[in-house]
Symmetry: C2
Subunit: 209 residues, 2 copies
């Protein structure tokens, strides 16, 4: 898989889910698991698991399945989460504060190391164990912590200049929650997260009743 862009996001999402399930099994002391067991336990599809893993050269042993430990390492490596990546959150309002404390943002793979705002009332206060710094501190903190990912949770009108501040500080990837189309830096991997799209999906299933 020399070109990361060749793996569709839906496959990546499934691999993330497998990794999480496998880590949970590993923590429970499980050493081997078949695709059927994995599928049954976490309500996934066994055929899909086999197909996805085969793509990355992982073939379970017939009658035994996969080595849990080995598959965890392999998936973590494929997903680029074989070491902890540092995150900074820009915009410590409700959403930023929620994400800074979110368990998935502070896991084996990720750690929030900085929270930034321009509101003097917030600067110096803490969210969980995280002290909020003024946005002017961003370049220093990014350099000192080797933070790679920026989470952008500022209001829409403030999104572009804070995005630019993140990229100028050397951040390599941005998760943007602001509902705005940013002018992107081509050197930075940027993903827009639309929180209301899930709501619209539910709306569809509710029908027109």
């Amino acid at each position: 898989m020399s070109d990361p862009n060749a793996v569709p996001p839906v496959t990546l999402n499934r691999l993330s889910i497998y990794l999480r399930c496998l880590r949970r099994l590993r923590d429970q002391g499980v050493r081997q698991v078949s695709s059927q067991q994995l599928a049954h336990r976490y309500r996934l599809s066994a055929a899909q698991i086999r197909k996805d893993l085969t793509q990355f050269g992982e073939f379970g042993i017939r009658g035994v399945g996969y080595e849990v430990d080995q598959l965890c390492d392999r998936l973590a490596s494929v997903l680029g989460v074989d070491h902890t990546r540092s995150i900074v959150v820009v915009g410590m309002g409700n959403l930023g504060s929620a994400l800074a404390r979110h368990v998935g943002f502070n896991s084996e793979s990720f750690a929030v190391v900085g929270g930034f705002d321009n509101d003097p009332k917030k600067v110096g206060s803490t969210v969980g164990h995280l002290a909020i710094s003024h946005i002017s501190e961003l370049p220093t903190v990014v350099r000192e912590t080797n933070a790679e990912i920026g989470v952008l949770t500022v209001p829409a009108p403030a999104a572009q200049h804070n995005y630019d501040a993140l990229t100028a500080a050397g951040i390599k990837a941005v998760l943007n929650f602001a509902p705005v189309r940013l002018k992107l830096d081509p050197r930075v991997q940027t993903k827009n997260v639309d929180l209301s799209i899930n709501l619209e999906e539910l709306g569809f299933f509710l029908g027109q009743g």
Copy 2:
């Protein structure tokens, strides 16, 4: 489309995006748009737009394109958002408060009509224009407001009993942000939202550097 489950979520997400773009065009006074114009303006794929809309019986007129107004109504109807759906948020911590104020949760299609918590310090206070009620008020508020969607933003250990409270109150669809596998009510459409999956996708693109 008699069976809503027959439309894959990725298609629904694209239809939601088309609808949002079309509503924006309509608000700007644009009456007709071709798939090429739509694609160019919002960085979408013209071929994909045509393919998606054809599925729902919408064929643009050659050289003219689609009637914006008509297509808005049609997509809103397909997506089940041709009237405003009421939402209640259970768990008014940071994430619940952020979602209760989120523009996408308070749009033409959705309105947050109730916020609930069991913390006496929060009950009676407000988030934006929304007063926080005690969770015991849930059945009354759901009945009085005809709320259809419940957003679950409580800590993981509290998720199941609050989910059960939502379904018992007559809520028809639940958006669950708690990182836990709920025992689901089969009569209720439930969607789990995993906020960290986007982070893992970025991790992958960053590679193993």
